[in-house]
């Protein structure tokens, strides 16, 4: 379970997150929507400790992410992350991309790590591309590679930071399908997304962010058809 309490985040004097309170249960799929600059991506970075916070707390399975004594590297193995710019490692093959972290972070043997990598790549539909370098993969394939790479650490939570925003339109579908597959398998997911269809069909709850505040959260049906907040209604009217 992820518990966020009164989370405040500043970039210099810019107040990016203004007191967020949010619980995400095991097995839940939460979509986070909102305009660019509303703080939704920053929220993800605060959850896995890639960004420090200035006030409040984030707990993952009871462990305070931002506490001094926390082994953040160990905690991050529980929190897979997929980025907008897929960030595949260009100097490694697909298989090596995925096998690297299990090997050096989890201490798996070379063969074990490669087995895990092959399994995860097959899982996301890249079983034919094991020995290919990222430069010869399409954007969608590279993003699925990034998903496999995160899954290879056997995370309990997956954080998706606009995983489809940088993709050509015709490649969005294959990545969304992979995310759907994960959701069906019961993975706990927080998806920052601009894909309203995905948010409506796949998530258990949808959160709307506006200028660093979580304006509204609820089941998709409620957010999409009977939003309480004026900002939410305006945003949804614009994206539709």
């Amino acid at each position: 379970m992820i518990e966020i309490r009164d989370l405040h985040k500043y970039f210099g004097s810019l107040h990016v997150l203004k007191g967020i309170d949010l619980d995400v249960q095991k097995g839940e799929v939460l979509s986070v929507i909102g305009a660019s600059g509303s703080g939704k991506s920053t929220l993800l970075y605060c959850i896995n400790g890639l960004e420090p916070i200035q006030q409040g707390s984030v707990r993952v399975d009871g462990i305070d992410v931002h506490a001094k004594g926390t082994d953040i590297n160990k905690l991050r193995t529980k929190l897979g992350m997929v980025f907008q710019q897929w960030n595949s490692f260009p100097h490694l093959t697909a298989l090596e991309n995925v096998a690297l972290a299990p090997k050096i972070v989890k201490g798996k043997s070379r063969d074990e790590a490669r087995d895990i990598a092959a399994k995860q790549l097959t899982h996301v539909g890249l079983g034919e591309k094991l020995n290919v370098f990222p430069s010869s993969l399409s954007g969608g394939q590279q993003q699925r590679l990034a998903i496999a790479r995160a899954l290879a650490m056997e995370p309990e939570y997956m954080l998706f930071d606009e995983a489809t925003s940088a993709l050509d339109p015709e490649l969005v579908g294959e990545v969304l399908d992979t995310m759907r597959l994960l959701a069906e398998e019961g993975m706990t997911m927080i998806c920052v997304t601009h894909e309203m269809g995905f948010a409506r069909d796949v998530s258990d709850r949808v959160a709307f962010f506006h200028q660093g505040v979580m304006e509204e959260i609820g089941p998709p049906a409620q957010i999409f058809s009977e939003a309480q907040s004026e900002h939410t209604r305006k945003f949804l009217a614009n994206v539709r």
Binding site: L50, R76, F83, Q85, H91, V105, R149, M153
Partner: protein
Amino acid sequence: MFDYNFHWRPVMKSLPDLLEASLLTIQVAVLAMVLGIIIGLCLALTRLHLKGPLYWFASAWVELARNTPALFQLFFFGFGLGAFGLHLSPYFIVLAGLTFNCAGYLAENFRGGFQAVPETQLRASRSLGMTAWQAYTRVVIPQVFRIVYHPITNQMVWAVLMSSLGMLVGFRELSGETQFFASRTFRIFEYFAVTAVIYYVIVKIILLASRLLASRLFRY
């Protein structure tokens, strides 16, 4: 047309000595490069990540190495330090001067290399639970190395050619040795012509080796 008779015999007689001296040239250039790469990497990381006195020190090093004649740098380690009573042997004058110069140039190559690898590569690595050290050594530096590989080769060539300045501080590397024989026999043109060929061959071998190594190292 010319009122000059070529005499190659003395050159050929001292060819073994010249070849031996060229080993010294290669040795001092390689050593200067190895030290230059280590120091250059430190200078680049200092300039990228630190502030204050260390940053100023690294910046001054890079500025002086790149913007003053290499010969003056050699003279500094020879006559400059000599004026303060610190007398280095010709070998160490050249080694110190070349290292100083190469480190300065390489530092800027490395800095460019680090800046060319997107910050997000580091973030992605850290998000997988890697320590900063692991992320740097397994993800960032291999990419930097590829970016700076050919500039490093260039610098290696430059180090070999620049070591000829050793002649001016009394170092008997290839040029110093050539100068020594040339002034004894007055066959100045012949000696330096042959020596130029030797330099050319050395550089060609370096370039060939570098290319072969690159095709083994870089698979993408």
